[in-house]
């Protein structure tokens, strides 16, 4: 085995990279794969292909989207990324070797791939960039082969003449990586004036090719030079992308000028340093807060409510989006009114986060509205999230949700239109077929456990205009429309609690008698006990069905608070989990939610 490893150590290391990449994305970061997949919708069909290929970098974009659809199943996605990184590193080395790099410096060939890995810590970096880098490396290799097998300038000039527009159109701005390499390669090979002149012409030709395309394309020049589909946000080209492109262009030349040394220790040192720096570099480049949110959203997508609660127990959710997801998870387990104050709360925002014009936060909020039966708002948030995708892609997940809403609302024409699109996808086609068969079959739709329930829940008669300042009134209408809507009741009660509006709470909580509870939820009990004790001295006279442990815990809290409202013990379990801690001590909910401004059009 040792011999084998010694003989094939370069392959072993390359495979190790691929496996590391696979493990990284298959386990701790699999939620990112779901994230990437849900902000695109690859469709089989000529139109879709032509739409992609009609822009520079179109083939890379098409291939990347084709591959990204497999992220739907995380192990496939991780395997694809493992292979991509393996190929990138191997090709980097092959090109370096052809440039004259010594085997001693093989471990350095991991650097460009590792830098790319770090860059991909930015969730908006698209696979298209990696695919186009692969293509650029391939064309670099062929350029060396052309140079090695021909004499004079004609062959390589012809190669550049043909390949530059081809690489640009098919793979995009990484043609600059390719031509950058060619320039360095030529400067290293021959420092004559004529070669310098030819190389300058190559570079100029490439720059002009891109410039000329700008007259026919409705894209700003900086995006054509920086790549249209390498990065999800169109407003700028990240510095690290440019760094990565430069690195891939110069790396083979840099390694080729390093001295040849036969030192085993050097290789081992290189491996050790690169492994350590790579590990910490990758770790540092993945922002834990951002990926926390991505993971929360992933868990919502998979309806993994228990995992959401466990995650929040391990590390408290503290952003409007994550808090709202934890509350959603509690509600799906029918524990919201029991366990609301076990978790950090940030006011009514924790139930209904304010709308933001981005593609991320409206997604779980749409999920909340959907499950409540606020179908129009669920569709609106899903639609807005989809329209907010900065590179104008559509989303399989969001399209599904839009279709769900259209079906529930009985808008079958629109549902059919979207379903026909999904029929052309890899992972949504079966679902689309099933739903198409269901359309216009009211009995089948009403019998569907989700559609039937939500049709019963949704507002049917009393129209109102959405106002997030009046969420309680909207929830009240939902509830009175269908008293089986337990989630609406829990959100209504918790909304008033989180708003610290005890008067309205007292108005609404009795509606709980119509809901299928076998006990008064704990948070409600705590408030009822506290309220009672404000005007009564004897807890045994409490007219509510409260359990003794909740009674004692609340009395203990009141007693401690009365003695010393600033007692540090109040911030410890179990006091911190009492509803009165939120009411009396927490600053959350002090400022009632501001009314969502009406949407400006002009």
């Amino acid at each position: 085995m040792k011999k084998l490893i010694s003989k094939y150590w370069t392959w072993t290391l390359s495979i190790l990279l691929g496996v590391s990449v696979y493990l990284f994305w298959a386990y701790p970061y699999k939620s990112v794969l779901s994230y990437q997949e849900q902000y695109q919708l690859f469709l089989f069909g000529e139109d879709y292909f032509l739409e992609r290929i009609s822009l520079p970098g179109g083939l890379a974009d098409y291939l990347a989207e084709f591959l990204t659809q497999f992220y739907y199943i995380p192990v496939f996605g991780a395997a694809i990324l493992g292979v991509v990184f393996f190929c990138l590193q191997r090709l980097t080395w092959v090109v370096s070797r052809r440039c004259g790099a010594d085997i001693q410096w093989f471990p350095l060939s991991f650097i460009p791939a590792l830098i790319l890995w770090m860059y991909m810590g930015d969730e908006n970096v698209l696979l298209c960039f990696a695919i186009s880098l692969l293509a650029a490396l391939e064309f670099m290799l062929h350029y060396i082969i052309v140079c090695d097998h021909t004499k004079g300038y004609a062959a390589k000039a012809l190669y550049i003449l043909l390949c530059v527009p081809l690489v640009y159109w098919l793979f995009g701005a990484n043609v600059l990586t390719f031509i950058g390499f060619v320039a360095f390669y030529e400067l290293k090979r021959e420092k004559s004036l004529s070669n310098l002149s030819l190389t300058s012409q190559f570079v100029l030709y490439t720059l002009l090719t891109i410039l000329v395309s700008s007259y026919y394309l409705q894209y700003p020049l900086f995006r054509l030079y920086g790549g249209i589909n390498y990065y999800r946000y169109p407003a700028y080209i990240p510095f690290l992308q440019i760094t990565t492109m430069v690195l891939f262009a110069v790396f083979p030349i840099l390694t080729s000028v390093l001295p040849k040394m036969k030192m085993r220790i050097l290789e081992i040192t290189e491996i050790a340093i690169i492994a350590v720096l790579g590990f910490y570099g990758v770790k540092a480049s993945f922002n834990p807060q951002k990926y926390d949110l991505i993971e929360y959203d992933y868990l919502v997508r998979g309806e993994q409510w228990n995992k959401i609660i466990i995650k929040a127990k391990q590390k408290p959710a503290d952003t409007p989006m994550s808090v709202s997801i934890v509350n959603l998870a509690l509600s799906q387990r029918e524990e919201l009114a029991d366990r609301l104050f076990e978790f950090y709360q940030n006011g009514a925002e924790g139930l209904f986060p304010s709308f933001t014009r981005d593609m991320v936060s409206p997604v779980p909020t749409s999920e909340i509205f959907y499950r409540l039966g606020m179908i129009n708002d669920a569709e609106r948030y899903a639609f807005e999230a989809q329209e907010a995708i900065p590179n104008y892609r559509k989303s399989g997940r969001l399209t599904k949700r839009i279709i769900d809403c259209e079906i529930i609302n009985g808008h079958y024409g629109v549902a059919r239109k979207h379903l026909k699109r999904l029929q052309k996808s890899m992972y949504y086609d079966t679902w689309a077929e099933n739903r198409l068969a269901m359309l216009k079959n009211e009995d089948a739709i009403n019998a569907d456990p989700v559609y039937g329930k939500l049709r019963a829940f949704r507002e049917k008669k009393q129209d109102f205009l959405f106002s997030d300042q009046e969420m309680d009134q909207m929830l009240g209408l939902l509830l009175t429309g269908n008293m089986e809507n337990k989630m609406a009741y829990e959100y209504l009660i918790c909304y008033e609690l989180l708003q610290k509006d005890l008067d309205r709470f007292m108005d609404y909580y009795p509606l709980g008698q119509y809901i299928s509870y076998n006990h008064i939820p704990k948070a409600i009990q705590e408030i009822l006990i506290g309220n009672w004790m404000k005007t009564h001295s004897n807890p045994s006279s409490i007219p509510y069905s409260v359990d003794s442990s909740t009674l004692n815990a609340t009395l203990n809290f009141m007693s401690l608070y009365t003695k010393n409202p600033n007692s540090p013990d109040l911030n410890l379990v179990p006091y911190v989990n009492n509803a009165w801690h939120y009411m009396l001590i927490s600053n959350s909910g002090m400022e009632k939610k501001e009314k969502e401004k009406m949407k400006d059009i002009y």
Partner: protein
């Protein structure tokens, strides 16, 4: 996915052989179910071919024979009907004022069926326009993704962008308006961080400051004076909110709006207190074809949103003197919709001076989101107003414009699926008779419209292709150089 691959194989197999006119087909006593519904429509000469698809379930192949009443015939076959453009034009030219009779054969389960023939009427009225301009945008709420202003050659299927928001990230373009379909003069509004009102005259672009302190908002809903010396705009504080019940989606309302005229030569705003009353919302200004009258819509200013369902607009007018840019001294009501408990918006006078076409809805200023919205026509000679029943549908029918000879009009309708607006064209003859409208022709229309996830907005005719340097325009939008408007 599997079906998709299977379809490709079947399609390839079908395409590999040509379809000839079937013999001994079984006669079916009904008209063919086709998409789009072109049965009995009236078209102008040299319109793009009325390609269509079979809409009657599974079938193998179809064949169509088109025969002109004044001569000429044309056939096509396959899984979708595609007529040769030149041959189709020739057929329409030959049959101007006549009919084209379509015989449709469909092969199902190995057997050919022949449906009843249907006619397409070729109008005597020429279109006299190169094509259409419009905006394409997803029918969304607040956030917008990719959108653009486009133009479409009506003699074929070519669509080209005038400007798309890929050229300026985050920008939104709307209300592209030329002067009497002549693109020598046109204006549109840019929303977003780089907001502006663009006015192009004879190739020269000017970018006006989106807002003026004397106005409530920016300059929207433009309409050129026929002389080209002025352009009327409204200035609106427009907001939207969202309904809860299944049949409604969005409510758009103005919380303030006024009407004024802009002089592009001096950059002056010609304001008038009669058009900027605090107790009325004035909007949608348009000039009469002689330029002596400014029409607009006006409603009592009621509290929004509490009384949004009580906002009802009437069509009003005021005299306008183009010589010195002055207004008359009184407002007259041309069509009192509020008496009917309705709201009349988006008036468009025909260029021959005979009619005003407008949209009637239950309430509000934005009928585009109202299912009940229908287009109406007001005869300016008789004062009679009536719904355009022949062109309206049970779904929203709204934004419309006339062609230069006022015998054709284009409008948007959600009749296809209830949400995505599509463009329809129809004819109105000398006696005011309106023809059955036809959907804007597309090649392989079912697939095209299924795949299109945009709505069409604000269509208008254009007498020739719009020349617009979108590359320079994009630079200018981001440059922030804006010309301030001044109040005269």
């Amino acid at each position: 996915m599997k079906n998709y691959l299977l379809n490709i194989v079947v399609l390839l197999a079908i395409c590999s052989c040509t379809v000839s006119q079937p013999e001994n087909a079984e006669l079916v006593n009904e008209q063919p179910p086709i998409y789009p519904d072109y049965i009995g429509v009236t078209i102008p000469v040299e319109i793009a071919p009325l390609d269509f698809d079979y809409n009657g379930g599974e079938f193998e192949v179809m064949y169509v024979l088109a025969k002109g009443s004044k001569g000429g015939e044309l056939s096509a076959g396959g899984t979708t009907i595609e007529f040769d453009i030149d041959d189709w034009h020739e057929l329409t030219r030959k049959n101007q004022g006549g009919t084209i009779s379509m015989t449709v054969y469909v092969k199902k389960d190995g057997k050919w069926k022949q449906y009843q023939d249907f006619n397409v009427f070729v109008s005597n009225y020429p279109l006299e326009e190169w094509g259409l301009t419009y905006r394409r945008i997803a029918p969304g709420y607040e956030v917008y993704g990719k959108l653009g202003l486009y133009q479409r050659d009506l003699s074929n299927f070519d669509e080209t962008p005038i400007i798309e928001n890929t050229s300026v990230a985050g920008a939104c373009f709307n209300c592209h308006t030329s002067n009497r379909t002549n693109p020598d003069q046109f204006t549109f509004h840019v929303r977003g961080d780089h907001g502006a009102t663009m006015v192009q005259q004879n190739g020269n672009r000017e970018w006006l400051k989106a807002r003026n302190d004397s106005l409530h908002g920016s300059m929207v809903y433009p309409y050129w004076h026929p002389s080209g010396k002025y352009c009327a705009y409204s200035t609106n504080q427009t907001h939207q909110s969202f309904h809860a019940v299944r049949g409604e989606r969005i409510e758009v309302f103005d919380q303030a709006s006024d009407v004024f005229v802009y002089d592009p030569n001096t950059h002056e705003l010609l304001l008038n207190t009669l058009l900027m009353t605090p107790d009325h919302y004035e909007t949608y200004p348009v000039f009469s074809p002689d330029g002596k009258t400014l029409y607009f819509c006006s409603s009592d200013a009621k509290p929004i949103p509490s009384e949004y369902k009580e906002i009802r607009y009437n069509i009003c007018k005021i005299d306008f003197n183009a010589e010195n840019g002055t207004y008359g001294e009184k407002i007259d009501t041309v069509f009192n919709a509020s008496i009917l408990g309705k709201s009349a918006t988006h008036p468009r006078p025909s260029y021959d001076g005979k009619y005003i076409m407008f949209t009637l809805s239950d309430y509000g200023c934005f009928p585009i989101w109202h299912n009940e919205a229908d287009n109406w026509i007001l005869n300016l000679k008789t004062g009679e107003a009536k719904p355009m029943k022949e062109a309206n549908s049970s779904q929203t029918d709204s934004w419309h414009n006339w062609n230069i000879n006022s015998h054709w009009f284009v409008f948007t309708s959600r009749r296809g699926n209830g949400l995505y607006t599509r463009l329809y064209l129809a004819q109105i003859d000398d006696h005011g008779n309106i023809s059955k409208p036809f959907l804007l022709p597309q090649k392989n229309p079912a697939a095209y419209y299924d795949a299109l996830i945009d709505s069409y907005n604000t269509p208008d005719f254009t007498s020739r292709k719009v020349e617009f340097d979108s590359r320079s325009a994009a630079h200018e939008i981001t440059s922030e150089n804006r010309i301030p408007t001044i109040v005269k």
